[in-house]
Symmetry: C2
DNA sequence: TTCTGGCACTCGGATGGTCGGAGTGCCAAG
DNA sequence: CTTGGCACTCCGACCATCCGAGTGCCAGAA
């Protein structure tokens, strides 16, 4: 039967690879003749045509209309990425340039800003960088400041250089002694700990204070825990939207939902959230859950100081993108950002 | 001579107004017949044609090609905005909606975020909101935290709810007593003061400390002054880029430089910086210094808590925009944001 | 003077027909 | 299984035509 799962032989795979490469380069459907001319496949166009027919049968490529060349489908790109392409490493000068550019950063905001711009430039696509997430980092310091008799400001500083502050309304006047005591105890236990672990280390704290002070302690701790747990505060930085103009011919239709998606931090966060914890994730076309991005691909990867990923970054481009090059750039940038963060 | 400055009579102005209104509505060059049909000008098309010829002579309108309708020039829009149009006030329900939407904000970030989205929605254009600038606000509290023996963290909290922090490397170990003393004195003098005034109020402070502590005090103060003076930290929030897709037919060409401009915070800041301190500023087409925005108009205005402007906001759209409506929306939003800020 | 109706003219854009070429599928022979 | 040949398809470019909106100008009315 034709329905049986047919193993694609090496030459068919080579043809698919060639189609992807050519199409990415020229943006035009690629025909059998052109293929044979540009890649030395060692066979005739007719043979290639047969292979193409088979590839189309299996759903890897597709014809816009009869008597036109072929275009890879999402499935075709998927196979290409999984089996046919190697991540293209950055050249030594490129790596030096990345390193040098990122080295100039002065603080966390700057690191993220530089990273996202760099990534957009290297890939000529839209770049997205998530701020190092609170949940994976550790506490450097927690500060409590009395602003008014019953108002305390809570400042949380993480090892990634991020600072979060919250105002706390206390049930009654808060003495400086109490505050100092609380501050000392909280820091003694929490400093250096990973954020998600902190609540567990502090939950018996109210019991150590006098009954009169307990409501205040409880409220402050509650706010602290809230801050620690806060996922919604995750921030994202974007760059390279102007690269969208290179998308294609059916322009406004494609670009509008993408622009809309890019404005929704939630969408972007979810997008990056789908990145596997280890290794690079490539989502091609329809594989993206968000409908507006159905004709784009997302290449994303985690990065972090040390060996553990604290946040994600990636790029968004047309499904017809240079996957090996993009993946190389994304990987390289992620690696160097990680190094920078580890150093600071 | 034809070169003499000719006063435009009322009817010509009415014709110009009608042309602008129609063109903004239809996006198509408008001809004499259509004009007479849609606005009851009380004269015949032929008369209108004569007026149009005059208006073109003076440079207020322009013909894409012979035998096409007329399109307003930048100069035409300018006259329209200056003399022919009234700012269109928001309706009561609209005002209520604005108020309600902004009232839900929980902190400064949220206020700005909501404002920018609201503005983008109301005007269906790209909205830009500058964070309340440090330089116009007042000090609510300054906090000093010892992080390490010779490292102090400086936190500046303003009345607009903004928080800035800086790490200070001190020349030697910093005792908690010194820090407490310094903290108390700094706050006593600076709290409630406008940021630019603070350095003047503190410059004799080192003299009040013992010689041994002076280097530390000096360094901390220097960092504080730097933070206060910092203009480059001005931040901007953006929304509505997807509205760019409604720009026009010659699409990618127009939109690309605009997207590029929007990514350059510096450009946007300068753009808003050109806003007059009082009243609304409208920059039309070539009036914009930045070349990429030569086919857009920028409507901007200051906003602030109380009667004084602490920052700017505005929208960017095609020169062919609904000026009265846009100006009304911008003004209304600015007013309500000001109120919100004043309350919090 | 200023406005109006009439008129000849221009020109962009839509419509439709033709044509070439790139590309295909199939087939029979190597 | 591969190859060259061949008939076929169909997109897109090119061109000619045509329609109509819009114009400028002019002579006559108000």
């Amino acid at each position: 039967m034709a329905g049986e799962v047919r193993q694609l032989d090496d030459r068919k795979l080579a043809v698919l690879r060639a189609i992807v490469q050519d199409y990415v380069g020229t943006e035009e459907p690629v025909g059998s003749k052109a293929l044979v001319d540009r890649h030395n496949l060692g066979v005739s166009p007719a043979t290639v045509r047969n292979d193409m027919a088979a590839l189309e049968e299996e759903g890897y490529i597709h014809q816009p209309h009869t008597s036109a060349g072929r275009i890879p489908t999402d499935k075709g790109y998927r196979l290409f990425v999984d089996k046919l392409a190697e991540v293209k490493p950055m050249s030594a000068p490129e790596r030096r340039a990345i390193r040098h550019f990122l080295d100039g950063a002065v603080d966390l905001d700057d690191v993220v800003a530089r990273t996202v711009r760099l990534l957009a430039q290297l890939t000529r696509q839209v770049a997205v960088v998530q701020y190092p997430s609170l949940s994976r980092s550790t506490v450097r310091h927690i500060e409590l400041v009395a602003l008014a008799p019953a108002k305390v400001m809570l400042v949380l500083i993480t090892n990634t250089g991020r600072v979060e502050q919250r105002l706390v309304d206390c049930p009654g006047t808060v003495g400086e002694t109490l505050l100092a005591d609380l501050r000392a105890r909280v820091n003694a236990r929490a400093a250096g700990q990973r954020l998600p672990d902190v609540p567990g280390l502090l939950d018996d704290l109210p019991a150590l204070f006098e009954a009169a002070d307990r409501p205040t302690v409880t409220v402050v701790l509650a706010t602290l825990f809230e801050t620690l747990a806060e996922q919604s505060e995750e921030r994202i930085m974007l760059a390279g939207t102007a690269n969208l103009t290179r998308f294609g011919h059916d322009f406004p239709l494609t670009i509008q939902p993408v622009l809309e998606a890019l404005e929704e931090q939630v969408v972007l966060l979810r997008l990056l959230g789908e990145t596997a914890d280890a290794g690079m994730t490539v989502r091609i076309g329809r594989e993206n859950a968000y409908e507006g991005l159905n004709s784009t691909s997302v290449v994303s990867v985690g990065y972090g100081s040390g060996d553990e990923s604290v946040a994600k970054l990636g790029v968004i481009g047309p499904t017809r993108m240079d996957y090996p090059g993009t993946m190389g750039a994304v990987r390289a940038v992620a690696r160097y950002v990680g190094q920078i963060l580890a150093e600071s």
